[in-house]
Symmetry: C2
DNA sequence: GGCAAACGTGGTCATTTGACCATAATTCCC
DNA sequence: GGGAATTATGGTCAAATGACCACGTTTGCC
């Protein structure tokens, strides 16, 4: 079986075919229907996850019930609440499917074992953490410094592929602006 | 010589005294006067840095010349533009001293050598990256979801020690709000 | 295929926020 | 110690934003 995951590893790591087979062999597949939850606030994230197809979101809720999205995870993304997973502590965030999705997962003991056995997997993990770090930081800077319009423009620039798979209210929740403001921005841009 | 750095390593890692001596021995000390720059946008971050004393800030500039602060780095913090350092690419951010500060630095080749030789230092590095990750993410969530007042309250809660070492306009630049708004919030709180 | 839910847009209004300006107090540095 | 720069606060005003509401359309799903 080739889930696309093997292809991903072949193209994005120095793993040998044997190692790839070993990693894939230790994984379990899980299907998520639209809106199905993968992790809820307060639960401990017990699995490392890779998205084969579909689209997930990682988000937090605030007092008034509205949600704010930290990250989208489309196919070929590793998604996890890193803090909850690493430390096995209750998560502050939620993960749920936006579209029908397929993910593969490893329980933490299993994945730890793989990490211990396979140096190239450690290297890949570190690379992913570093990338995530840079992503968060860049996003933080944008959140601090950009106007709503600039935020939207950056989103379109960096997530062109996701733009038509997401309802506008989720884009707004991702940008930290209201749906109304987003609508206004788009309206203004059409006029131009 | 004991700079406090050795003590830090003794308390926060599994490094042996020999290893600690090796790491400290490979470092260079640098003093920064108030407002002195350590790294400017566009430069490549060529050194790993540890703050012995004082206080630095990592910030970015926007078109109108205003600055937005990503992070404060007081004594006992490792500070660096991780992306620029890791990939040796031009930095998008600036680092400068807020107070007169002392830092110790290692050039990247030297520190890479230490990392290769000392497993416990790799472990520490990974821990620091993970922590930084979680910090950025938490901060991003706050930036997206909190009101200015909530942001300030969280800042006071999490940075009580820095509060009276920082001018208000820098706190505002950190929170992503205007100085005016910050003044208003503080005024309202006094009245309560 | 059809019904219910989700979605996108629009209008209005109150509130918040930031821009600009001035001023007093404080702090820094030579 | 003293002069200059930085800092904190305040006032006013315009603009941006969000809250609330309604309505028509689209979409998902049984």
């Amino acid at each position: 079986m080739n889930t696309g995951f093997e292809t991903y590893l072949r193209n994005n790591s120095h793993l040998t075919d044997d190692e790839i087979a070993q990693i894939a062999g230790a994984s379990t597949t899980r299907s998520l229907s639209r809106n199905e939850s993968l992790l809820q606030e307060g639960q401990v994230c017990r699995h490392k996850t890779y998205v084969i197809s579909g689209l997930l979101r990682i988000y937090g809720l605030v007092a008034d019930g509205s949600e704010h999205i930290l990250q989208f995870a489309p196919e070929a993304h590793w998604t996890l609440d890193a803090e909850s997973y690493d430390q096995q502590t209750p998560s502050r965030f939620n993960i749920a499917a936006i579209e029908r999705s397929e993910v593969i997962v490893w329980s933490k003991p299993v994945f730890d074992r793989l990490l211990a056995d396979i140096p190239a997997l450690r290297a890949l993990s570190q690379q992913l953490i570093a990338r995530s770090n840079h992503g968060s930081r860049q996003r933080l800077f944008t959140a601090l410094s950009a106007t709503p319009e600039e935020k939207y423009e950056e989103f379109v620039r960096t997530h062109a592929d996701l733009q038509n798979r997401l309802p506008l209210h989720m884009i707004a929740a991702y940008l930290g602006i209201s749906l109304k403001t987003l609508t206004r921005i788009r309206h203004a841009q059409i006029r131009r």
